[in-house]
């Protein structure tokens, strides 16, 4: 087993791995940087002087922007109290308290205060821009803030949603729920293309280079060899993805004015009409599971095809046709009720994890089950094909001549 691991490690197409790593680094990195610039907010104040403040895509700048907002909020309340010739109103006291908590970075108390305001008067909270994005609605705001308070999370939702590095990383993969990455389809396609080319390369290599007889004579079953081969490739693909994402996160976090954020950040989506909290760590975990199930499906397909064909291009094209059957409109040939059972319907990470539109009625476990079943089916099919080929039943060879006699 160890020997096979070492051999399969050496047989890996390292140049191809490097190529895809560079592509991923460029695409994910640029998506993360673009996520920072999705929205530059501005607010203008007129009065003694016209003043327009814009928030740049750093936590420091966003903090400054928010501080100005809250300071103006307090000033407006104080002026209003003065105009009405009344003592400091509860609203003014609350505004001052929020400002103080914000300036002291006591986000835990800040979140409690905001939660209280929204629960007290949701519509007013919207008017006062307290229930601003990232909240889609006061209900969602309450759900998310309650989560933050319950988990003692000392972070501010708006700050992190707009500028935290880990939130931008989530946007790059389309799982943030707030900022969307217009190129997430491209990223998904590239990740699938990476898996297709790599798995086809490793599974076709022996047949292409005629070293398959050597492998067949090693005292290790073909299926085990395939598992080791596929396992190493899967590991390297995961390492590439992790490294490409990780490097982007680390570099951006180290840039002055940026903050990492928190993996507990509660994104929210609607499932069966109810708001559901999905902390970022869970969203990333779901994304990782989803990717790896796609990879297993692609690996299974590549392995099966490599057992019946020597032409690697055929393998890549067939797998591409299967994985992108939706985009190629091939699925239109399949009845709608059957389409939902095919893995193609679960290729979009944003749909599967964030549950927009049709996916509001499809829980993650359902998507996971469909993909898992297909991965298992394909791997079992490959195992069966190998067994048939080894026993000679697969009909690739002609049988012994009739009328046998002793020599």
């Amino acid at each position: 087993m160890k020997a096979q691991l070492i051999l399969e490690w050496k047989k890996q197409p390292w140049l191809l791995h490097l190529f895809w790593f560079i592509v991923l680094l460029a695409v994910i990195g640029s998506a993360m940087v673009r996520a920072e610039t999705v929205r530059t907010r501005g607010v203008s104040y007129t009065g003694a002087t016209a003043d327009t403040i814009y928030a740049k895509p750093t936590t420091a700048s966003e903090r400054h922007y928010q501080t100005i907002l809250y300071q103006h909020g307090v000033a407006n309340n104080v002026a209003y109290d003065k105009q009405l010739k009344r003592p400091t109103s509860p609203a003014t006291r609350t505004a001052k308290k929020i400002l103080r908590q914000f300036q002291q970075r006591d986000y835990l108390s800040f979140n409690r205060s905001i939660l209280a305001i929204i629960q007290d008067d949701p519509e007013q909270a919207i008017n006062d821009s307290i229930a601003d994005p990232p909240f889609d609605s006061p209900d969602q705001a309450v759900t998310q803030l309650t989560y933050m308070v319950k988990h003692q999370c000392n972070r501010m939702l708006q700050l992190d949603a707009m500028t935290a590095v880990i939130n931008n990383a989530a946007s790059a993969f389309g799982i943030n729920g707030f900022k969307s990455n217009q190129n997430v389809t491209t990223l998904n396609t590239l990740i699938l293309a990476m898996a297709m080319t790599l798995f086809c390369f490793v599974f076709y290599k022996d047949r292409r280079e005629e070293t398959d007889t050597f492998m067949q004579l090693a005292p290790l079953t073909r299926f085990r060899q395939a598992l080791i081969r596929g396992g190493i490739t899967l590991g390297l693909i995961n390492a590439s993805l992790l490294a490409a994402s990780g490097i982007g996160v680390i570099i951006l976090t180290l840039i002055p004015g940026h903050e990492f954020g928190t993996l507990l950040f509660p994104t929210a989506y609607t499932l069966f009409g109810k708001p559901v909290i999905l902390p970022l760590w869970q969203a990333f975990l779901q994304l990782w599971l989803l990717y790896n199930l796609w990879f297993l499906i692609i690996a299974g397909l590549a392995l099966c095809l490599s057992l019946v064909s020597r032409n690697q291009l055929v393998g890549i094209f067939v797998i591409a046709g299967v994985m992108f059957a939706d985009k190629l409109k091939l699925l239109m040939l399949v009845p709608l009720n059957v389409q939902r059972l095919l893995p193609n319907g679960y290729l979009n990470a944003t749909d599967v994890i964030r549950h927009p539109r049709d996916f509001q009625l499809i829980p993650f476990t359902h998507s996971l089950t469909v993909l898992l079943v297909w991965a298992a089916v394909l791997i079992i099919a490959a195992w069966t094909l190998m067994r048939l080929q080894t026993s000679g039943v697969a009909g690739r060879f002609r049988r012994e001549a009739p009328g046998a006699h002793s020599h």
């Binding site: 007889t213 004579l217 026993s391 000679g392 039943v393 060879f397 020599h407």
Partner: protein, 231 residues
């Protein structure tokens, strides 16, 4: 001991072997001789399961090829030719792989020294000459330390010095109790090295003990006389 019973095979509509039975005892070198295209390589492939023969019974020291394949293969080594090595891996990579997979105790460095491969041991297969690749292949056989070795025309492309070296090594393996089934066209070498010879003709094997007779004359008698008569 390698025991074969009821081995038959045909390729498309051409019969290659018809109900072949034989045994190979431990500690002997058996030559496999036939004209090109008769089916020598096919026989070797059948013996290690690369081609299917469901009706045949092939056992190696009591282990069945069909039902105990991995254990069977641990006792056997066969690699058709040096063209089936990994071009981008080094000789060392191949040798270490074989040592580990066959759980061999044979010392790799000693083998390298014996075959005088020090100068290209760490080179990639694609950068080796034919002779070097043949040496690499032989090294793999030696390091596998398999009980039974099936070797397909090992002397192709070798200079006389290397041929002598290979024959000496085959003798050493026999002395260590290994069984070698060697297909070859080089009748003088067959005569020097083999304990018995299988002549493959008419889908059968004719076993001839090596008593020091002129193997080339025997080859001519078995294969070429008939061929001359048919011209």
């Amino acid at each position: 001991m390698l025991a074969v019973a009821g081995l038959s095979f045909s390729f498309k509509d051409k019969p290659i072997l018809r109900d072949v039975n034989f045994t190979l005892e431990d500690g002997q070198i058996v030559g496999l001789v036939a004209p090109n295209g008769t089916g020598k390589t096919t026989l070797l492939k059948l013996l290690c399961g690369l081609l299917p023969a469901p009706a045949a019974t092939i056992t190696l020291n009591g282990l069945s090829l069909r039902t105990q394949r991995s254990a069977f293969l641990k006792q056997l080594f066969f690699l058709e030719s040096s063209a089936h090595l990994y071009a981008d891996l080094t000789v060392r990579d191949h040798l270490l792989y074989v040592k580990r997979m066959w759980r061999s105790r044979v010392d790799v460095q000693a083998t390298i020294k014996q075959l005088q491969m020090e100068s290209y041991y760490t080179k990639r297969i694609k950068n080796l000459s034919l002779g070097m690749k043949q040496h690499a292949l032989l090294a793999m056989y030696m390091i596998s330390d398999a009980q039974t070795m099936l070797i397909d025309e090992p002397l192709n492309g070798l200079d006389p010095t290397s041929i002598q070296q290979f024959e000496h090594i085959f003798g050493g393996l026999r002395a260590a109790g290994k069984t070698l089934l060697v297909s070859s066209h080089q009748m003088d070498s067959v005569g020097r090295v083999c304990d018995q010879v299988f002549f493959m003709k008419d889908q059968a094997l004719r076993e001839v003990a090596n008593t020091g007779q002129d193997m080339m004359a025997l080859y001519t008698q078995i294969f070429m006389t008939e061929a001359a008569a048919n011209v």
